[in-house]
């Protein structure tokens, strides 16, 4: 397990104060899952994302938001009203001992409370502050508001999703909440490494979600194509426009996906197709080659490929294709991933117990190593760590705590 004590974690038990909403909560989760001591700092009524659906058994309740539960594993929770002046001075005390603050407020909000990076740096020059916002801390659009779909659109990613003659489509599952938070985690770790190995000082790490999403499809080179040809890359539907075969193909019992890139892979596939269909057409010399070799004969080749995939099930295509060293992949849905033999054999699903919603399976994460553990705990109850932090660490008495509670500070 990571972070059990100071010496054996993947990363040390850095104290992270997590003020981020849905745009940045994944950063705190990653840091926590990797071993940091992450404390979610929530308004007394609970973080806004506790009220984001879906909910456990569809009951709207601050401890039952499945959104909150997913993005807040391995974190603790305290309540604190940072808009209140007492709350602000308490927050500054927390910052004195913190390594990291992660936030995703509208640009300028923390400054307006006297809690911006410049103010906090004076309290703790070793502090790393990480901001995850739609458009970054500066520039003409830094004040723009954005939900997931708006960031997907503004990055240009959305232009590439869906069918060519249909409106651009968003991706399900609010995909823009991941890339920027991942970059922010890498950036935060780099800033901490730099602080601890070299400079002794922290810094501000500013991650714009729009730009993170731009880098997540950059193989399509939207700006290069515009500058070169005054044309725009666009969506192509379920099959790739250049590489053939590449994309989704109908099969006996649904869909199969495959992508043939090298000349060797084409040799392997065309032989297999010939074995199954007996159609010599597929072996033609003009179809041979790698990557874009089949672009001019794309439609012809796809007809022949579909004639073949139609005859086999997704599982047959996947297993036999991989045996032949071809990149053939099944189309999984959510339940099949939870049942997936591969993920289960790897210990990917980790069961975590939560005092209100009970046991559920959560992803361990994308990294496997003896040096890296799994998520340590389910999401915290609101204010679960108030006593630990306020009494044990900051030295408030139980009575002080009661007063802070009645005055609405915590």
């Amino acid at each position: 397990m990571p972070g059990k004590n100071k010496s054996d974690g993947f990363i040390p038990r850095y104290r992270v104060l997590d003020l981020a909403d849905e745009k940045g909560a994944y950063c705190g989760k990653l840091l926590g899952d990797l071993g940091a001591d992450v404390i979610k700092v929530e308004p007394p009524g609970g973080d806004r994302t506790r009220f984001r659906g879906p909910f456990h058994k569809n009951e709207v309740h601050p401890e039952k938001s499945l959104h909150f539960l997913y993005f807040n594993t391995s974190k603790g929770s305290i309540t604190l009203d940072i808009e209140d002046s007492t709350g602000q001075s308490i927050f500054k005390k927390l910052v004195e001992k913190a390594d990291v603050v992660v936030e995703s407020f509208p640009v300028g909000y923390l400054d307006s409370l006297g809690l911006g990076y410049r103010a906090l740096r004076k309290i703790n020059p070793r502090l790393v502050m990480t901001s995850i916002t739609p458009y970054g801390q500066s520039g003409p659009q830094s004040g723009y508001k954005a939900a997931d779909i708006n960031i997907l659109a503004m990055s240009g990613y959305m232009q590439l999703i869906g069918e060519p003659d249909q409106p651009p489509m968003m991706l399900g599952g609010e995909q823009t909440f991941y890339p920027a938070a991942q970059y922010a985690t890498a950036g935060t770790l780099a800033a901490l490494f730099y602080r601890d190995a070299s400079s002794g000082r922290g810094q501000h790490v500013d991650v714009p979600m729009q730009e993170a999403m731009i880098t997540f499809y950059h193989e399509q080179m939207p700006v290069a194509m515009w500058e070169k040809d005054k044309e725009n890359v666009s969506r192509v539907g379920v099959m790739d426009a250049m590489v053939t075969p590449c994309g989704l193909y109908p099969c006996k019992d649904g869909w199969i996906s495959m992508c043939i890139v090298t000349p060797q892979e084409w040799e392997g596939l065309s032989q297999w197709i010939y074995e199954v269909t007996g159609n010599e057409e597929i072996l033609k010399e003009e179809y041979k080659g790698g990557l874009i070799a089949r672009m001019p004969v794309r439609d012809m080749v796809n007809v022949l490929v579909i004639e073949f995939t139609d005859k086999l099930t997704a599982r047959e295509l996947f297993l036999e294709g991989q045996k032949r060293r071809l990149v053939v992949m099944p189309v999984n849905d959510v339940p099949s991933l939870l049942e997936d033999a591969q993920l289960n054999s790897r210990g990917f699903w980790v069961e975590l117990d939560h005092p209100v919603v009970g046991k559920m399976k959560y992803p361990k994460g994308a990294l496997y190593s003896d040096a890296i553990g799994a998520p340590r705990s389910a999401a915290p109850l609101l204010g679960a760590d108030n006593e630990r932090i306020y009494c044990n660490e900051l030295g408030y008495s139980r009575e002080d705590l009661a007063v802070l509670r009645t005055t609405g500070v915590i």
């Binding site: 456990h56 499945l66 651009p168 770790l189 601890d196 849905d333």
Partner: protein
């Protein structure tokens, strides 16, 4: 020049495609010395992209890296690889187990060369288990990771023209390496990490995993509509294939939205009174919103919505990104030279084919800004790496070049 976070860290990159070189590019932008080990005797298909400017795609992967040619299939090549690894901090590869074993570069062997080496193996579906060693491309991962099954229309999966989870893998790779460096700083220990493309994408399915476990809900493909908010979508605007997205996520934004479109009578209709009503009648609502937006320019729709505090954004095309004053203010795109591949000539002889734009990195450090730099030619750093780092003589380098070890 101020010091950079990863200055003094040497990384050996041995692999292909997108996720691996992007990860090390990110490390290089933070100051690491990344040495890309490759051989032109085995062709990297990505040199042919994009078709309108072959070679320009490499700008995404190669800025700031040192490039050496080395054929590890030859005994002397393998020895030199070992010498390089002994002088390095990090080794990252995405080659298959079969190839690595054939070359005599198993992970046990590599780790025995240098005790505190950090080794990252990027795999497809993972190294063990029933599908261990299976091949995978990021593009197909949007299907294997269920993302395409929760996107699109009820009748068809929403597919992105993108190597989907390669990008997630790239940042996980970099994150893991930086974390491992911090761990090594504290403990003196190296480690071995595996990062599969599969799991990198699976985690992005998110709360839907929990929703299925406790509520047996499988996410519906609801086009651009949101399960809890409306209006929410990409609305047609003036021009060809021009769209502006609008997301009204609470009552305040709904009132502001109605104000922007001039409070037409239909906004007072009981079918749109509450968020639940609007979600229920989203199709009709979308039609009415689309009527308003289709008479207007996408940028204007966005600006008017934003002025009133309504989340909105155009569906950017390449031209919008190229012309974005906002991205210009961040100097997000850089222009630099790229080379045209000629597999009959050594990499250092390849001609400059032009200049092309490429993103820098989406992380802005206040004290140690990320770096951007030119792309080196293939083999350009042979003299530096073999001469200066490994101490070989000019004659030896010449000899090994002639023998095809550096090819």
């Amino acid at each position: 020049m101020a010091k950079k976070p990863l200055q003094g860290i040497r990384v050996i990159e041995f692999g292909l495609y997108i996720a691996l070189p992007l990860a090390t590019r990110l490390l290089a932008s933070m100051g690491a010395e990344v040495i890309k080990v490759e051989t032109l005797t085995s062709l990297d298909m990505s040199w042919f992209g994009p078709i309108y400017a072959p070679g320009a795609l490499q700008l995404e992967y190669r800025p700031l890296k040192r490039n050496v040619t080395l054929d590890v299939r030859q005994p002397r090549g393998k020895e030199i690889m070992e010498e390089l690894l002994k002088k390095s901090d990090v080794y990252i590869t995405n080659l298959g187990e079969g190839a690595l074993t054939k070359y005599g570069l198993t992970f046990d062997h590599v780790r025995s060369l240098k005790k505190d080496l950090i080794v990252l193996w990027q795999t497809g579906l993972g190294s063990t288990g029933p599908y261990g060693g299976y091949k995978a491309y990021g593009r197909l991962m949007q299907h294997a990771c269920a993302v395409s099954t929760i996107s699109g229309t009820p009748d068809s999966l929403g597919v992105a023209n993108v190597s989907y989870s390669d990008y997630h893998t790239s940042v996980f790779n970099a994150m893991a390496i930086i974390g491992a460096l911090e761990r090594r700083r504290r403990t003196g220990e190296g480690c071995f990490i595996e990062c599969p493309i599969y799991e990198s994408g699976v985690v992005t399915v998110g709360p839907a995993f929990l929703d299925y476990q406790v509520n047996k809900v499988i996410p519906e493909r609801r086009e651009n509509r949101h399960r809890f908010f409306a209006p929410h979508g990409a609305y047609p605007c003036k021009g060809t294939d021009r769209w502006c997205t609008i997301a009204v996520t609470n009552e305040e934004e709904w009132k502001a939205f109605c104000g922007v479109i001039g409070n037409p009578a239909w906004t007072k209709s009981p079918q749109f009174a509450t968020a639940a009503d609007r979600v229920k009648n989203a199709k009709e609502l979308d039609r009415l919103v689309g009527e308003w937006t289709s008479k207007r320019n996408a940028h204007q729709v966005m600006e008017r919505m934003q002025k009133a505090g309504v989340p909105a954004g155009i569906v950017s095309k390449g031209e919008d990104l190229a012309n974005s004053e906002h991205l210009k203010s961040h100097e997000f795109y850089k222009h630099t030279e790229y080379y045209a591949a000629d597999f009959n000539a050594p990499g250092v002889k390849w001609p400059v084919a032009g200049t092309s734009p490429v993103f820098s990195e989406p992380i802005y450090f206040s004290e140690t800004p990320v770096m951007f730099g030119p792309m080196h030619k293939v083999g350009q750093d042979n003299n530096y790496v073999y001469g200066k780092l490994l101490g070989m003589s000019k004659e030896e380098i010449k000899k090994l070049t002639k023998e095809g070890v550096f090819a």
